[in-house]
């Protein structure tokens, strides 16, 4: 993915001027760098193009989450209308998250070819018919198929993150991406409130239950169309305009996909994070699918009460995911990468423990408390994951991010298949077992070792050459590529990543053959 830069140490809302020079010749509402990417993140502004892009992007992603999980709070009605069994409901949940495993991988290429604006608009407007298709469904097979197709729209995650990277400077991209992703994920919570409310209103107007839920699906469908049109008319690919009307700059040489892919899949840390994200984001998506029905059945609540409780799970994303990223940064300030790894392990394991508690809770207040604590743990772990992912590789960051994202969906599908589709145990038992699996699958984070920074239990390598950031990031390029100077970006990144040593930065000897830190 072009233009996606690494996430830097500072979690500030703005970048200090001396480090990244401001381009004073540019005429934008926000201060920009030499690529015209914004250096400042003003959340409440709608300034064109940077902040407007941010809002178009996260709201599109939010809309796709709303439509993908729109069926979940209405399952008590849908299961009676379509005569579903537990297996059908579970399979539909698996289908809803499986579609995007593939579409997220494809979206990266689409953004490269057509730009993020068309990538987002194409996906969201082509998925609108699939949402409207819900009104045709009359069997379990149809229900599963439609949920699978609607699930493709979750690939807007990729276009959202890609688009942010073209608009915001590398030093604040972590916060921007984390906020956009977190607010988008909130859609999974908002839908649990919106859909039962719409259903109630439509029923009051006079519709029968088995028709009312179908009409309710029109609203997410219209949102898709509206957001698609807004993205096309108000959005632009790059700060200076749309990619088709600009001449491409020649200073970033195009990298070979096969090489980038190779370095992504041969790095063992990629696969550990694919597994880990499957048990933070994955369990969040699974819970979005089962929690409303769980509260409705276990505690005999009304549909919209169950929806409100289920909504608080997803809505916690508004602060929980940024909180995870922030904790990761805070820990890194003192303890470097080791701090980030420990933060991730603690948050994700706590999430798992609270999930076990949720399944065992027999009274409503305890169940709600356990659910809220579980949501904070899991979502903060998502934020903390993407505090580490940018450091795994500089060359293959895009593909690794895409693989990690796809891993989240895969984990969700697997979890729903194993714990929530079979009739041999109850949903409550399924939740507790899922919690136990979270704790077990978070242990591999202890194996993540960076020669230059160490791991959770091991110190960094004492070797003068191998223990440097430059060596780690340079090892992704061969001699031929280094002669062409293709690795310069990685070297610059390596220099900046020295902050991941924590408090030891001052005492670290400057490695030979590298530029001093202050030029």
């Amino acid at each position: 993915m072009h233009g996606v830069t690494g996430r830097e140490q500072t979690f500030a809302f703005s970048v200090a001027s001396p480090i990244v020079p401001t381009d004073t010749s540019a005429n934008f509402a926000l201060p920009v760098d030499s690529e015209h990417k914004a250096k400042v993140f003003k959340i409440l502004s709608l300034a064109n193009p940077h902040m407007r892009t941010f809002h178009l992007s996260w709201i599109s992603f939010f809309t796709c989450f709303v439509s993908t999980f729109a069926a979940a709070p209405l399952v008590p009605i849908i299961r009676d209308n379509l005569n579903l069994k537990k297996g059908d409901i579970g399979n539909a949940g698996v289908a809803s998250v499986s579609g995007s495993i593939f579409s997220r991988l494809v979206m990266g290429a689409v953004c490269d070819l057509l730009g993020p604006r068309y990538g987002c608009a194409f996906l969201i407007m082509l998925c609108a018919p699939t949402v409207f298709c819900m009104c045709f469904v009359s069997s379990a097979g149809g229900y599963i198929a439609v949920r699978f197709m609607i699930g493709f729209s979750l690939a807007t995650f990729v276009s959202c993150q890609y688009w942010m990277s073209t608009m915001f400077n590398g030093k604040i991209i972590g916060l921007v991406n984390g906020t956009a992703a977190g607010w988008g994920n909130m859609g999974g919570g908002a839908t649990q409130l919106i859909m039962p409310m719409l259903y109630e209103v439509i029923r009051r107007i006079g519709s029968t239950p088995f028709t009312a839920w179908r009409i309710a699906f029109f609203i997410p469908g219209w949102l898709h169309v509206i957001m698609g049109i807004l993205v096309l008319t108000l959005g632009q690919d790059l700060p200076d305009g749309n990619r088709s009307t600009l001449q491409k700059k020649g200073d970033v040489s195009k990298d070979k996909f096969s090489k980038v892919f190779w370095y992504a899949i041969t790095n063992y840390r990629t696969w550990i994070f694919v597994l880990l994200y499957g048990y933070s984001m994955g369990v969040e998506l699974s819970t979005d699918n089962v929690i409303a029905e769980y509260f409705y059945d276990r505690f005999n609540l009304k549909l919209h009460t169950a929806g409100i409780i289920a909504a608080t799970f997803g809505m916690a994303n508004i602060v929980a995911r940024p909180f995870g990223g922030y904790s990761s940064d805070l820990a890194a300030r003192r303890f470097g990468m080791r701090g980030r790894l420990w933060t991730l392990w603690i948050l994700q394991t706590l999430g798992g423990v609270f999930c076990i508690w949720l399944g065992r809770a027999n009274s409503l207040p305890i169940a709600v408390l356990a659910m809220i604590l579980f949501s904070v743990g899991a979502q903060a772990a998502c934020g903390a994951t993407f505090g580490i992912v940018p450091f795994i590789s500089r060359r293959s960051l895009g593909i690794i991010s895409g693989l990690t994202g796809a891993g989240g969906n895969f984990g969700s599908g697997l979890t729903q298949l194993v714990f929530f589709t079979s009739s041999s145990f109850s949903t409550a038992t399924g939740l507790s077992l899922m919690g136990a699996m979270i704790v077990a699958c978070t242990l591999p984070v202890t194996l993540v070792h960076f020669p230059q920074w160490g791991s959770m239990f091991l110190p960094p390598s004492k070797d003068v050459v191998k223990g440097t950031e430059e060596h780690y990031y340079e090892s992704e390029w061969n001699e031929e590529e280094k002669k062409k100077g293709m690795h310069q970006g990685s070297l610059k990144f390596a220099e900046n990543s020295r902050s991941e040593r924590g408090k030891r930065v001052a005492s670290a000897p400057t490695p030979p053959n590298s530029t001093p830190s202050h030029v």
Binding site: N81, N83, K85
Partner: protein, 201 residues
């Protein structure tokens, strides 16, 4: 003396617990006779067909059995075959947790005989196999007796109901129109913009 006091308190406690946790189905007496119009194996359509239910006290029980019965509720209940793989319809002995009978036909004050009701099957009744059960309640609103159209194992005299699809031609047309609008406006915009940049070059 102490053991007697202990026995009495434990008996009182268990009675209290029963009242607090509600009645258990296994403790109810089947003193009511219930008959319904659907024949065994018949399939009815919801929203259109009617069911006629008649119920009354079984006269073979001694007089005074029904002294506590104050109200009666007639309910449509799921047969075991419709409960398979559907934990939200599970039969549980503790009646406050039991989900077998989820559709209310009628609720009336108790009368020993001449009870009859004609009920049009409501449109939110799902496709399944059913039987009908009548519960008798005391003044506190707790179940004290019941009667049902099927046998104790819920295997005989079951009938089916076919639900409405919930689909409407108007909805289908609206969905097609909006979908077409979405696709056409997307490709329209794309082509117009492509043409503009081609002209500009």
């Amino acid at each position: 003396m102490a053991t007697r006091a202990f026995l009495v308190t434990s008996l009182l406690l268990s009675c209290l617990l029963q009242i607090c946790s509600g009645a258990y189905f296994s403790s109810l007496q089947r003193t009511l006779i219930v008959t319904a119009s659907p024949k065994a194996g018949e399939v009815l359509k919801s929203g259109e067909d009617k069911i006629t239910v008649t119920w009354g006290l079984n006269q073979s029980y001694p007089a005074g059995t029904d002294s506590a019965y104050k109200t009666v509720k007639v309910k449509l209940c799921y047969a075991p075959i419709s409960q398979v793989d559907r934990a939200w319809r599970k039969t549980v002995d503790q009646l406050t947790k039991d989900k077998t009978c989820q559709h209310m036909i009628v609720s009336q004050p108790y009368k020993a005989s001449n009870n009859s009701v004609e009920w049009t099957i409501e449109k939110d009744v799902p496709t399944a196999t059913y039987f009908i059960r009548t519960y008798a309640y005391d003044a506190e609103g707790q179940e004290v007796a019941y009667g049902q159209t099927t046998d104790a194992h819920k295997t005989t005299n079951l009938f089916g109901i076919e639900a409405i699809t919930g689909r409407h031609a108007s909805l289908d047309i609206a969905a097609i129109c909006f979908s077409a609008f979405s696709v056409i406006s997307l490709f329209g915009f794309f082509l117009v913009e492509k043409r503009k940049t081609r002209v500009a070059k």
